[in-house]
């Protein structure tokens, strides 16, 4: 399956490169409305045509991809760190610490996160710039996403605590802190890495779903969510195949992440 991995790496590398060079490649500002050309077909000037307000679709796709691909891994990193800390401590110490922390995880899992996000948005100051608004959205996603991963990490840490090598280390006089950071934590690393890779597409899709509800990134900033929102509704399916490019890119990127994840989990 090396060829699949190579394709996945190629897709992600090209996508990230395009995002980094968005300022140079993009033919127009993502917010500029060419009002004489709304809903235009692809042309030399607008490679993917224009949207219903006359904005260049290609420029918006580049900017939207940049936002989603920058902030989704950041949120996934935050989630993984929180899951590692909370799950690791709970599993390693066990007892009432585990019970309290896992009860907290259950509480977070039971929260209706959509309503929480709605409430958070309603409570935010109104004069927040679009960029800050999207950063806050991903921060909330990151802060809410740790619970499920923490449960997995907790189970892993618990089994590591009771493992033979831990017993042997203790018998040789190894302190608890050294045991945790020197022996247990490195063994949790693959698990956390897996959680990180899993979280990225989850957050990308979560933002896309929020965008469809009108709660993600605010205008005029584009994101994959707001680009996908254009596809909702009957009129989207109206003989303009180029409007599906953001969807195809989302599928390609999420699939690439999954391919890399599976490849990492398979024994070499």
């Amino acid at each position: 399956m090396i060829w699949m991995r190579n394709i996945a790496i190629g897709v992600l590398a090209m996508t990230f490169a395009a995002c980094l060079l968005a300022g140079t490649i993009a033919p127009a500002s993502y917010a500029m409305q060419f009002r004489e050309e709304p809903d235009a077909a692809p042309s030399h000037q607008h490679w993917l045509g224009t949207d219903d307000l006359g904005r260049d679709r290609f420029s918006r796709l580049l900017q939207g991809t940049r936002i989603s691909l920058l902030l989704a891994p950041a949120a996934a990193f935050l989630t993984s760190v929180l899951a590692g800390l909370i799950g690791g401590i709970a599993g390693y110490w066990g007892g009432w610490t585990e019970r309290v922390l896992m009860a907290a995880a259950d509480l977070v899992l039971s929260l209706p996160w959509l309503f929480l996000l709605l409430t958070a948005r309603a409570l935010m100051p109104l004069n927040v710039s679009p960029m800050n608004s999207v950063a806050i959205t991903f921060l909330i996603l990151g802060l809410l996403g740790w619970a499920a991963a923490a449960r997995v990490v907790c189970a892993g840490a618990r089994s590591l605590r009771a493992s033979d090598f831990s017993l042997q280390a203790r018998a040789m006089g190894c302190g608890e802190a050294r045991l945790l950071f020197r022996h247990v934590a490195p063994n949790l690393q693959p698990m956390l890495l897996t959680q990180f890779w899993i979280s990225i597409p989850v957050f990308i899709l979560a933002e896309a779903n929020l965008g469809i509800l009108g709660l993600g990134v605010v205008e005029p900033l584009p994101s994959w969510g707001s680009l996908l929102k254009e596809l909702s509704g009957l009129t989207a399916i109206s003989g303009q195949p180029w409007v599906f490019v953001p969807l195809l890119l989302l599928i390609a990127v999420v699939t690439s992440f999954q391919v890399l994840l599976v490849d990492q989990e398979l024994p070499s």
């Binding site: 409305q33 709605l118 948005r121 309603a122 109104l126 927040v128 009108g214 605010v218 205008e219």
Partner: protein
């Protein structure tokens, strides 16, 4: 009679009955967006219930949605007293409700009593609550009745367009109706079946009893996409209110099915929060309370572009608080504020604003930036807001668009006043100033920019208060028009609301339907449902 003759007679009978049934008007199908909350015409407070009341109710008089004139229905004539408190009706005789119960003046009296019963909180009855005291009904004869109100009511007769007469004696209560159809079956969340009222009193010019249709089936369908798909597949016969983007698709796929009846009464509007108790900074409130600032914003918005792009040309720049669709009340001397970026900057300069490196600053050096709240998920308003962003950036203003879920939005604009500007649409169900009282009086709850004022805070608001009260208490249409023209002019000059566009009344009607005459007042298509038919033969007779 021998057996051959019997067979022949049977065949003739069969052909005659088949022909007769073939000439029936058929079944009309369309959708309601949600279940009606009530079938009691007095308690109607939601759009689906209002639509059912429109189709099933019998009214003393009706506003013709096409001509915008009142026409007699159950009342053959009526007279309003000089003091504007009493209205007397002469009723049609020999009419029956759908269940066969006879109709008389007692039913009108019964309806009025229920309508004015405070314990029922009838929204329809609110229009008749002119002052303290009881409403007195006097049955003068089985076909004559007079109703006296404690205080004068302007346009008293027009309010009866909403009053469906109920039976005082029928055991079926509100299910016995005088309209063209009655409710025969209802499955919540699924459909509503209305059958032809066999006792409906109207006849066409050829003496044929109306309605032409045999039945109406209203499917409960909340999703607009599904509704449009069902129309395009021929499963439903009409969509009464079509969005501009769907309209283009209807025109493309079924040429001739889309109908644009012209500009409606409904404006999209923006207003700034001027409430003194709002938690916004004082310097921003000072901007919002400046007439020059508000008019400058109005001039800086390219509303023709909004009409052309967001509404695909199926809207027009709004002139002011009334749309030209209101033929009598619209002030024809007013013209739309034209798009004029330089003019806007000049007005702003008069208030000390200055443009510096593409950014606008006020006289104290504050960057001009404000937020605009609107309903999340409303594509049309989000597009309008995005276009406003670009237009205002041309004069150096930074606009932050904040889509909020509807309960949060309502909380902010009606209770906490924690917002700076708001973009919303208004649905005008009736003509003229009567429905505008709760918006334009400075003490009103819906005086959005600064509600519930104890005393008018500005001279122009005081003048509007005076003019609105003058027109409401006057019975002379000419005087009322003069007063309301002046109100429109003040609203145009002071711009407490910045009116963006008036959308067109767009509908989709199957070519199988006959006699449909789409209008600009709601309901757009089936306002003459008793004359609509699915049989060309019936319709042409």
């Amino acid at each position: 009679m021998n057996s051959r003759s019997r067979v022949l007679l049977s065949l003739i009978f069969f052909f005659v009955t088949t022909l007769a049934s073939a000439q029936g008007g058929g079944q009309l199908r369309f959708c309601l967006r949600s279940d009606p909350k009530t079938f009691d015409p007095v308690l109607v407070d939601d759009d689906p219930s209002e639509r059912v009341r429109y189709i099933t109710g019998g009214f003393l008089m009706r506003l013709n949605r096409f001509t915008q004139q009142l026409e007699p229905e159950l009342a053959t004539s009526w007279k309003v007293s000089k003091d504007g408190r009493t209205i007397s009706f002469r009723l049609r005789e020999g009419l029956r409700f759908s269940d066969g119960t006879p109709f008389s003046a007692d039913d009108v009296a019964f309806t009025m009593q229920r309508l004015m019963d405070l314990s029922l909180h009838s929204p329809t009855g609110d229009a008749f609550r002119s002052g303290d005291g009881k409403v007195q009904t006097q049955v003068l004869a089985p076909n004559k009745i007079s109703v006296t109100f404690p205080a004068p009511i302007a346009s008293l007769d027009q309010h009866f367009d909403q009053v469906a007469i109920m039976s005082a004696k029928s055991p079926k209560k509100e299910m016995a109706v005088l309209g063209p159809f009655y409710v025969s079956d209802y499955k919540a969340g699924s459909y509503l079946q209305l059958n032809r009222n066999p006792n409906y009193w109207k006849h066409d010019e050829n003496g044929r009893q109306l309605p032409y249709l045999d039945s109406v089936r209203l499917d409960i369908q909340g999703n607009r996409d599904t509704e449009m798909l069902r129309f395009l597949r021929g499963e439903i016969d009409l969509v009464d209110n079509v969005d501009a983007e769907y309209y283009s698709r209807v025109q493309t796929e079924q040429a001739g099915s889309g109908h644009d009846s012209g500009v409606t009464l409904d404006p999209e509007q923006v207003w700034f929060n001027q409430t003194p108790k709002s938690p916004i900074p004082a310097y921003k409130r000072a901007w919002f309370r400046s007439t020059n600032f508000r008019v400058a914003i109005w001039q800086a918005l390219n509303r023709d572009d909004i009409a052309r792009i967001v509404y695909r040309g199926r809207a027009q720049s709004a002139v002011g608080m009334l749309s030209p669709a209101d033929k009598f009340w619209f002030n024809t001397r007013l013209t739309t504020h034209s798009y004029d970026r330089q003019g806007a900057l000049k007005l702003l300069a008069q208030d000390g604003f200055r443009l510096q490196n593409g950014q606008l600053f006020d006289r104290d050096g504050h960057l001009v930036e404000f937020s605009l709240v609107t309903g999340a998920g409303n594509k049309t308003r989000e597009r309008i807001a995005t276009m406003m962003q670009q237009d205002l950036s041309q004069i150096g203003i930074k606009l932050n668009v904040v889509p909020l879920d509807f309960p949060s939005l309502i909380e902010r604009i009606t209770r906490t006043y924690d917002y700076e500007a708001c973009l919303l649409g208004l649905t005008n169900m009736s003509l003229g100033p009567d429905a505008q009282m709760n918006v334009w009086l400075s003490s009103a709850d819906n005086h959005q920019w600064n509600p519930r004022q104890k005393q008018p805070e500005t001279a122009w608001e005081a003048e509007i208060d005076r003019l609105m009260r003058t027109q409401a208490s006057s019975l002379d249409p000419k005087k009322r028009k003069e007063a309301f023209d002046r109100v429109q002019q003040i609203a145009w000059e002071q711009a407490p609301f910045i009116y963006l566009v008036n959308r067109h009344a767009l509908s989709a009607i199957s070519p199988k339907l006959h006699n449909a005459q789409p209008a600009v007042l709601q309901p757009y298509v089936y306002w003459n449902i008793d004359r609509i038919s699915k049989s060309a033969e019936v319709a042409s007779k």
